[in-house]
């Protein structure tokens, strides 16, 4: 599969938006879906549908096999040691809530500290914030440097003897900063602290190797990874999944149920209560196939070229200010324009068919720190090309014209 030609795998690009071609630069929000994935959903529902793991009839057995096949594909894609280290959730947000809730029940006490960073998405802050009330836990934030980057030193500074968990993003959805997870994990482990990584933004754009990163938890949203909505993945080392209590309770995650007590299933069922997102899991196998067919190395180099080009033209465009200039940067171009509010930019770009996002991107802490209430963000996917970035720039110029800038 040739990446330069990949747009044709995505049916949405044959539609017009306000009579313009769609220039989709909102993949950090959610990616478009290749036809193979949509077809898989269609075929599953029309030819093979059944619930998983609960009946012994043909369709159910087949669906169970398909469901577990995706688990194996994800294991391989993440280079996880064990298939049972892959838990399906409804999204990265649920995955992080699962970790915060179960980890705190088993391992946290009043006065313990969680270390986040100023880059974190609300989904990697609110679940930890809950523990302030329920457990009397304290939350610390490693600070960004002037490039919108987090150095290992700034992490180290905030570690105290009470730090019981480091929960950090792999790739910032605003500054694009790629954090040195492997080094952070080494540092943390040397102090006996587990590391939870918010991999939402990294997963579609970077090579993922759990055994190399050696992190304890890794949260992923499938809808940002060319997969269906309503599905996420929690990778967790087996020792954690074995020792954490279950999260939601319901059908499928129990061993024996009595009126006075309940015992729970083995992995992976223990953490998959109730009917899961069967069709979505099964279709996600096609997303993994799709990524594998292009090859992550090709994706990385394609997106790097685009990012460099995008930065180049936007830097040349006066009155556009890029946000963040980290050492290693991925797939995200956030910016402001003096005197034009990001919301107005986004609305006007939209008239030209250019879809970007404006707002705080669920990162209020970061925006506060940067002295902004909002920013504009163009983010990349495999299907983007230089044309898209040229159109972005053109449309920004239209916008400036309207506002007489």
């Amino acid at each position: 599969m040739n990446i330069d030609n990949i747009k044709k795998e995505f049916p949405i690009f044959s539609n017009k938006i306000h009579n313009n071609d769609l220039v989709y630069l909102d993949s950090a929000n959610s990616s478009q879906k290749p036809l193979v994935v949509v077809n898989r959903i269609y075929d599953f529902y029309t030819k093979e549908f059944s619930n998983v793991g609960r009946s012994v009839h043909y369709l159910s057995v087949a669906a169970t096999n398909l469901y577990e096949k995706t688990r194996s594909s994800v294991q391989k894609y993440l280079n996880a040691k064990d298939k049972n280290e892959i838990v399906f959730t409804k999204g990265a947000t649920e995955a992080i809530n699962l970790v915060a809730s179960t980890f705190s029940q088993e391992f946290l006490q009043e006065g313990d500290e969680i270390l986040l960073t100023e880059l974190e998405h609300h989904s990697n802050y609110v679940p930890w914030h809950y523990l302030r009330k329920s457990k009397g836990v304290k939350i610390n934030f490693a600070e960004i440097d002037e490039h919108g980057d987090i150095s290992i030193e700034n992490i180290e500074k905030k570690i105290t003897p009470n730090t019981k968990m480091i929960a950090i993003t792999h790739l910032s959805n605003v500054t694009g900063a790629i954090l040195p997870i492997k080094e952070i994990t080494q540092l943390a482990h040397s102090k006996g602290i587990p590391v939870m990584v918010d991999g939402c933004q990294s997963a579609p754009h970077m090579k993922l190797d759990m055994q190399d990163l050696d992190c304890d938890f890794y949260a992923i949203s499938c809808h940002k990874m060319y997969g269906p909505t309503g599905l996420g993945i929690l990778y967790a080392k087996k020792k954690w999944l074995d020792n954490l209590p279950p999260y939601q309770g319901g059908g499928g995650m129990i061993n024996e149920v009595k009126k006075n007590d309940i015992s729970y299933s083995e992995l992976p069922n223990k953490f998959e209560a109730g009917t899961m997102a069967t069709a979505q899991v099964i279709a996600f196998d096609e997303s993994i196939n799709f990524l594998n067919k292009i090859g992550i190395d090709n994706i990385i180099s394609h997106e790097k070229k685009l990012l460099d080009y995008g930065e180049e033209i936007l830097r040349k465009n006066n009155s556009v200010k890029l946000i963040g200039n980290p050492q290693k940067k991925g797939a995200v171009l956030s910016f402001t324009i003096d005197g034009i509010h990001p919301h107005d930019i986004a609305t006007i770009l939209d008239e030209d068919g250019v879809a970007i996002r404006a707002g705080h991107h669920c990162c209020q802490i970061l925006h506060d720190k940067l002295g902004l209430t909002a920013s504009a963000r163009a983010s990349l996917g495999v299907y983007n090309n230089k044309d898209d970035l040229d159109k972005l720039n053109e449309s920004i110029n239209n916008c400036k014209k309207i506002f007489n800038k």
Binding site: H343, D344, T373, A374
Partner: protein
Amino acid sequence: MNLKELYQEIILDHGKNPRNLGKFENFNKDAKGHNPLCGDKVHLFLKLDENKKINDISFEGQGCAISMASASIMTDLMKGKNERQVKELISKFLEMIKEKDDIESNLLNDDEKTKLMSLGGVKNFPMRVKCATLSWHALSSALDDFQKKVTTE
């Protein structure tokens, strides 16, 4: 009317040069509005008489052209209106911005109607509807709140 035309007329003017901007001294009521999705903020200052007639009104805020223009147009319009009139205008405005094509009210002259209806173009943009209504909701809660204080004091 599409949004771009919109940006070239009344909204751009009010957005860039908002009327009634800044805190004035002897206000006796204030109220804040905040749109968590985009971070738009508005802070209203009011001088109300005992019957909640608006003797003076101004605002501070950060936000897009639409929310700033809306606050600017609203404050211009509300000066001197009594409680009943304010409430009527708020509800007419919200109706217009959410579903109706025009706005009918004896309280408005044609020029004022035109200004308000310039904001009507956001009808099909739920995100922008919130921008346009932010200051109006804040005004509404300021009045209700003032009442509460009066009755409990």
